[in-house]
Point group: C2
Chain length 310, copies 2
């Protein structure tokens, strides 16, 4: 048994007017709760220090940059790192990253038990669009405010396991899980902010969207024999409902813990044995024995679909 | 609307002693039923002309070859092709193929409405093992009797849709759906013979195995915005139970038809609109806009997992 007690810290809504300091206080309260529950690792959502600002159309880059962090830890988040270090709990959370050379990424980090950042990931699959879209029920401007991540999908050894990260829309892409699976990943951590309504199909409500969210995480877990922890922001942010539905999925693709809250902050906890990954990785998904890369080449050679001629 | 009325023809068990002629009679009975239901296309299982012979260990190649077809159509299957042609129904089924130059494949074919074979697929992901395995509850010798398919995952235009095929264990591999998705596939047809028990973990029974079977087909359908039709052999063959659980999955990843029979032949029917694929293919899974192949290269460059150093 290589057990990691994982806490999934789903956050309720963060309004546009809420300060980072107020959010960090809420995160620390969840961390305290996690300490009481014996957690080794606590996972927070994507862009968790502020409201989900890509729903707002902005033209002024100064206004945009106000949503970004120039360093991590910084003044606002230092107390969170201090509490985590003190408790010996590894943490992971997402934030908007502005680099010293002026680049913008949708980023998440992972620390070890000592509060050192040992892993950084920048979101590769940015959903949405880059210009104001009059056809949509609301805007989703991630392609405007971020550039695609440039770090790939690395994995790190942490807490005696092999861990990787992805963010939100990344979870819908089987390539993401597979690239980490090919590095022996045992735990994939991801945060998300998913609107409860499809901006391009307003009759697609929360039920269908929760189904899709779970489906892709369960399949990614099973097909790579890895734990998957997907942690959401939930509730109504400035009039815009978010999906919630945070889950912990085992390497057989079963949900073993699920958030119930639709508005309040909530911690879900599960004792995860990393050795459960071994059976799948050595039998049905023993990649070395079964994969046939000579027939996969389109996946890496071709971005869009190429439809056969009539 | 581009509707195709799809019939999924799940077969009950085929015993070792059953002749191909007897099986073809059963297939024709299902085809007659499909004609009455207005079907345009009928899908039969993998290796559907005989019992699932890879569960038997054989050393005599003459004995092995007796399970293979040297041409298609042949004397045994000609009546099936004739009935399908007469009814104007396209069909797909699987069989063991022995080529003129002595190669062995686990193959499936697809015909047009005129009974012409317009597509052939040879199973790429052969599960199991090649030598007698004393550790298993029963044998699964596909790696002994077949070589991996050499045709990749092509698609064809048929019945005004873009169709592809895979077979059984192929359905567990996201690469399979994606390679066809990158060719604009709208309907993936697959047959399977899945034991109800995991030969390497006997407490993994039918419930979990059905869950995994559905999970991978639902995820493959959703993530590529394609219909998926998975048709099983069911029931007890020579003392070995098969899973059954044939389904038709829509491009949103929902099961829209499911077989109920566990022993008898059974036809499931659904009216499938190929235009339902368009929304996913042009929004969340618009590959050209969202895929980032620069970060996928491991998938095509590396067969087995490469674990980071300690």
């Amino acid at each position: 048994m290589r057990t990691i007690v994982i806490g999934g810290a789903q956050l309720g809504p963060i309004q546009k007017a809420d300060s980072r300091e107020a959010v960090v206080e809420r995160m620390i309260a969840l961390l305290d709760q996690a300490k009481g529950a014996g957690c080794d690792l606590v996972v927070f959502p994507e862009l968790c220090l502020t409201t989900f600002f890509p729903r707002w159309y902005m033209e002024d880059q100064v206004e945009v940059n106000a949503w970004f962090e120039r360093e991590m830890p910084n003044v606002a988040t230092a107390p969170l790192f201090a509490v985590a270090r003190e408790a010996g709990i590894a943490i992971s959370f997402g934030y908007a990253e502005l680099t010293p050379d002026g680049r913008h990424f949708n980023t998440s980090i992972m620390t070890d038990r000592a509060g050192n950042i040992i892993g950084k990931y920048r979101k590769v699959h940015l959903p949405g669009h880059s210009e104001y879209d009059t056809e949509r029920a609301f805007q989703h401007l991630e392609k405007r405010y971020f550039e695609p991540g440039d770090l790939g999908f690395p994995v790190w050894r942490n807490l005696d396991a092999i861990m990787g990260m992805c963010i939100c829309n990344d979870r819908r892409w089987p390539e993401v899980y597979r690239v980490m699976g090919l590095q022996g990943v045992e735990l994939i951590i991801l945060g998300y902010n998913t609107p409860s309504v499809n901006s391009q199909m307003v009759d697609e409500g929360p039920e269908k969207r929760l189904y899709h969210s779970e489906l892709v995480m369960k399949a990614g877990a099973y097909q790579n024999a890895t734990w998957v922890v997907g942690i959401a922001k939930a509730g109504v942010e400035d009039g815009h409902p978010l999906l919630g539905g945070s889950i912990i999925v085992d390497p057989n693709g079963y949900v073993v813990a699920r958030a119930a809250e639709e508005e309040e902050d909530e911690l879900i906890v599960h004792v995860c044995d990393m050795d459960v990954c071994t059976f799948g990785k050595t039998t049905i998904f023993d990649f070395a024995r079964h994969r046939r890369i000579e027939h996969y080449q389109r996946i890496c050679a071709q971005t869009g679909a190429e439809v056969p001629e009539r």
